[in-house]
Amino acid sequence: MDLTERWNAIDWQASDFSFTPADVLAATRQQSAGDVRQLLQTYRRLYFMSIGFLVGTPLLMFLKPQEPEYVLCIGLISFYWVLVVGFLTRQFVRFRLPDLAQQPTEAIRATLHLARSINAFHTSIIGFMTPVVFLGSLLGTLTYGGTRFAQLAGNPLVVGIVAGSTLLVMGLSRWLRRKLMNRQCVALIQRLDEQLRILTTP
């Protein structure tokens, strides 16, 4: 008897196992618990990173504290992080995760709600604040060298370049919004949506 015949001669039904829709639901609950934890971890990382920027950005003011115009520009950038951290703090303080083992569907719903509200906020604030942050960075760089706002405003070429590049960034912010959307988060949100549908289908 050759190898193939021996392989085929094995009784493959000898180790029977059952697999039912209940097993699928159990697997889905297990999977969703992992996905919820992973998604929350991603958003917490984003939160701590934003706090880092909120603390770090004002430190740049100490490079030229005697230049009020430079300080103002850094303030513009810091303002963005104040808004982001303020919003995220409010969301995380309000957020209560239901027991993943006892109430998996409620836990998924709460997590999806948190993720979507943060995403919606990011989408709108990036569109609105990107030109502000860009303008702050650009003017901050120019005033860091000692140039005054009055000098910049008096030079039509500089005004043209600053205005033109800011308009360009406003246009790019729409593209940036899509790019900044974390692909892993998008995939996890889609998966949790599907798991919620499965767990709530009678």
Binding site: D2, L3, T4, R6, W7, N8, I10, D11, W12, Q13, A14, S15, D16, F17, F19, T20, P21, D23, V24, L25, A27, T28, Q30, Q31, R191, E194, I198, T201
Partner: protein, 154 residues
Amino acid sequence: MALQDEFVERIQEHRLLLNKLVFLYADQAEDRNDLRQEILLQAWRSYPNYRAEARFSTWLYRLGLNVALTMLAQAKRTQFSELTDGPPGDGNQFETDDQLQVVLRQLGPIDRTLLVMSMEGYNDVEISETLGISPGNTRTKLHRIRQKIGQLWT
């Protein structure tokens, strides 16, 4: 039909294949059960991405191999007994002679999958797509495996 019902139905249709997969990669009955559970879990996770262009069985082979390779990587830490590394198990659920196991144990998981898929009648293209290698490479590997087995098989 709901996705989960469709999945359960497909798994029920491929129960024998699952038995073959766990036999192929694990030796102890307990490890086989663990491996089966993990394959089912991963299959369910990946099922929404399953494209019907490939046969469900080849998709399951690929998934089973990936799960087995992952568990093998963990084996170095957790002593998961596998055909290549561990001694023959005493909790064998399948009636088989030791010679078949001894021969399979001489091959790595990928070569084992290649050999079994060939014995199961899959063509070179299906095997190569499952293992992520070219059809030419599949033929060469299979030729070498058969040569090696020829020396072992009496």
